[in-house]
Each structure stands twice: as structure tokens, then as C-alpha cells.
């Protein structure tokens, strides 16, 4: 992963969107209601209303890289994954157009139709789903099972070379090596344990969303799951990876429920029924440690961005403080049992 350059002003002008859509629709288009969503520091997300001269009107969402970004991304991979599940049992926003270059949106990005009425949970919200937690959770873990039942080739995802668990460990070890800025003995010890105790290979390679958790989907506030979001880390691998990440206590809203929605047994049952896979206890134990390791590396990388002055985004400051301390504690405690 290459470093990002210091970002300057990176606001997307409405004129740029109007110019692109006018060409795309073949008629003059005006833009209204343009607003950028807060959060999601790796991508910029905007929503806006586009109205053509003919009266055609669409509410759209654009996800794009920051214009000055040097981070290596594969916009097509994310877009193809969303495309692959459009119209399936896995609810996703309707994908409309992708440009992997800077021509359309001044940096690589893609357009989706806005999911009307959707809301996403905040990390610290103690009542993220209210009385609808069980209903949303059932859909959430069922959708995860459907993702894992799909063929990675359908999304253009190549199987990892070698053992999928060790491939992910190597991925996060490399990220940690690049971003570490002070001793992290708990993380070192956990990585050593993971390397020495690999889980059994999965019975099949699955599409792994990569960031499947509470907060990365939209629901309607009345018990209906509307769309799974944030596919930027999608890859092929072991389905336990997603399940362990989704069930990590960080995303439980301090409830003890998987994703803050369902008892763990019910979540696993929903996932097993939809995926056709069975939870492997040995793999589960490994991936639960791995989830915390992955988290810690992400939070350390976020902090490094701030420390090095490449970003002043408070979201990264937040990540480098609260989730960092959370996973530092839970992982240290987990080491006691290994």
C-alpha cells in the first residue's frame, strides 16, 4: 500500500458532476442537494439530485477516491462486487457507472442510486437498532451467508495464493510493518500465535466482504435491511473472516450481541443456513483473534496518518484512540486464554 499525499481542498464541485452527467445522459443536467457524508476516510461519499432538461430526475450517490490520493485502489473490484449482488438476496445499492480513472469525477469513483430512507448505526450508539435488532440481525447474518454462498469468480475475485488465513495474516503484518510507530507487544504476541497455529483451510473459497459489520449497512429504522455498503476491502478467502469481524465485540454496541443485534448462536445459525457452511470451531477461534489483530492494525495505521501529518481528519483521530484502546484491551485479555 502506497502512502497518500497530503490532501488539500478536495471538494467535488457540482459543476463537475453536471458536466459528466450531461454527457452521460445526453441532455443538460443540473445538480442540487449535493452533500458529502461524514466518515469513511478512505473514500469520499456524496449524495445529490440530478435533474435533466427532459425532467428526468435521479437521487444518486458517488463514491470516489480523494483527488490527491496515491493509495492503490481497485475501484473496479468494489464496483464489480456490488454489481454481482445487485438484484440478488444480498441487498446492495443499484450500481450505475464506474470510472476507474480520473476522467469522470476527477479521481476514480462510481455512481450508485441512493437508497432512500436508509440509516446506519454509529459505533457508540447504545441502542443502534432499538426494538428491531433481532429482525435486522436475522437479515444481516442471512445476507452474509448469501455472500459466502456465491462464487468468487462471479465477482472477478481470484483465490488467494496459498492458505487464505495465512495470506490475510501476511497482509496485515505487512500493513503493521509499514505503519508501526511504537512498540506493540500485544499485537506482536498475537501475530506470533496466529502464525504458529493456522486454522484448517476452509472447505471452499468465498467472497469475503472485508468490512462486514454494524455501521456498514443501511436499514429503514423499522426492521428492514436495505443495503450492504462499503465493499472496498472485498476479496476471496475464508468465510470465517467476515463472520468473526461482524461478531467482534467492538461492533456490538456494548450489548454482548453479535453486531448489537442477535445472540451469537442465532447469528451463526442464520449464517450457516444461508451459506451452506458449518462453523469450524478451530477456525472460528483463530479468526476471532485475527479480527482483533486486523482492527488494531487499522487503528494504528489511522493514527500514523495523523502523526505523520498526512491527514487531519478527526475520524482517523477517533480510530486511533477509541477502537485502538478497545482492541488493545480485548486482545491482551484474549492472549491470556491462548
Amino acid at each position: 500500500m502506497r502512502r497518500r499525499a497530503l490532501r488539500g481542498c478536495s471538494i467535488l464541485p457540482a459543476e463537475a458532476l453536471a458536466r459528466f452527467l450531461s454527457g452521460h445522459w445526453g441532455e443538460p443536467v443540473s445538480i442540487a442537494g449535493l452533500k458529502r457524508f461524514h466518515g469513511g476516510s478512505a473514500r469520499q461519499t456524496y449524495r445529490f439530485d440530478a435533474t435533466g432538461a427532459s425532467g428526468r430526475r435521479e437521487a444518486l450517490v458517488l463514491r470516489r477516491d480523494p483527488p490527491s490520493s496515491l493509495i492503490e485502489t481497485d475501484r473496479w473490484r468494489e464496483y464489480r462486487a456490488i454489481q454481482g449482488f445487485a438484484g440478488s438476496a444480498v441487498p446492495v445499492p443499484e450500481p450505475l457507472f464506474c470510472d476507474a480513472g480520473p476522467g469522470s469525477f476527477e479521481s476514480p469513483g462510481f455512481l450508485m442510486r441512493e437508497v432512500a430512507g436508509g440509516q446506519a448505526a454509529g459505533l457508540l450508539d447504545p441502542q443502534a437498532y432499538g426494538e428491531h435488532g433481532a429482525a435486522v440481525g436475522q437479515q444481516f447474518f442471512t445476507a452474509l451467508g448469501h455472500i459466502h454462498a456465491a462464487d468468487p469468480a462471479s465477482a472477478g475475485l481470484a483465490a488467494p495464493a496459498g492458505h487464505p488465513a495465512l495470506a490475510r495474516l501476511a497482509h496485515w503484518q505487512a500493513a503493521f510493518a509499514a505503519d508501526q510507530f511504537r512498540p506493540e507487544p500485544v499485537l506482536d504476541a498475537a501475530m506470533a500465535w496466529l502464525a504458529a497455529n493456522p486454522p484448517p483451510p476452509p472447505p471452499r473459497i468465498s467472497i469475503v466482504h472485508g468490512d462486514y459489520r454494524s455501521g456498514n449497512f443501511l436499514h429503514d429504522g423499522a426492521g428492514r435491511l436495505l443495503a450492504i455498503l462499503d465493499w472496498e476491502m472485498v476479496h476471496a478467502g475464508d468465510a470465517h473472516e467476515d463472520l468473526a469481524w461482524a461478531c467482534d465485540p467492538l461492533w456490538s454496541h456494548f450489548s454482548g450481541l453479535a453486531g448489537g443485534m442477535l445472540p451469537l448462536a442465532a447469528a451463526v445459525a442464520a449464517w450457516e443456513a444461508a451459506s451452506g457452511l458449518a462453523l469450524n470451531p478451530q477456525a472460528w477461534a483463530w479468526w476471532r483473534i485475527m479480527a482483533q489483530v486486523q482492527g488494531l492494525v487499522i487503528w494504528i495505521s489511522a493514527a500514523r496518518e495523523i502523526i505523520d501529518g498526512r491527514s487531519h481528519d478527526p475520524v482517523l483521530m477517533f480510530a486511533g484512540t477509541i477502537p485502538y484502546r478497545f482492541h488493545s484491551l480485548t486482545l491482551a485479555r484474549a492472549l491470556e486464554g491462548l
Binding site: H38, L124, P185, D248, S252, F254, L257, V315, I322, A332
Partner: protein, 123 residues
Amino acid sequence: MSLPLPVLINAVATALAGEVAPALQQLGQPAAPDANYAGGTAATAAMILMLAAAQAAHGPAREDAAIAAARPLLGDAAASRDARHAALGAALATGDRAALALLIAEAEAAYLALGLPAPVPVD
């Protein structure tokens, strides 16, 4: 502070999210794409400021406690965070449970300082 830190943080974040974005719009930027973003950013920034204030108030005492707890095991290496953690890491690599206990205690104290609910296992 008479209110728990999370309550204060929530109050500040809510106030900023409700006030900052509309204020930007009233200042002549009704179509500014980052008006909404500014509200969220300000809210998160306020939370960070609160954490920073708590850190400034309680961090030194926490560090002193960590040094005192680690000194019997590590001697002078306990005196700074990085040296202490490097030494604890070396001990942990040999299976030293006392080193792990010290690291857990430090992690617990650091998390407790956030004023958030304790992590709840999902099992």
C-alpha cells in the same frame, strides 16, 4: 466535571451536528458540499478534544502507575512507555505471564480513561 464523560461527549457532538451544519448554510453556503461534512467533522473533533482533555488530566497519573507496577519486573526499562513495552514484549515472547498481566492492566487503565462502557464479550 459533574457529568460522565460519555454524556458530555454526546451532548457536545449532538449540539455541533445540529448547529454547525445549519450555521454554515446560513453563512451563505447553502449548496456547499461540505456543509454537512463540516458538521460531522466538528462533532468528531469535539469528541477528540474531550478525550484530549481527559488524557491531559489523568494521563500522567496513569503513566506513573504503570511505571511503578512494571519497575519490579523491568527496573529502569519501566520508566518510559516505549522502553517498557519493548521489554514487556520481549518477556511476553518467552511466555512471561507477569508481563502479560502488566500489559492487560495498562490496557484496562487506558480504556477506563475513555469513560465508555466496558467491552462486553460476544459469546
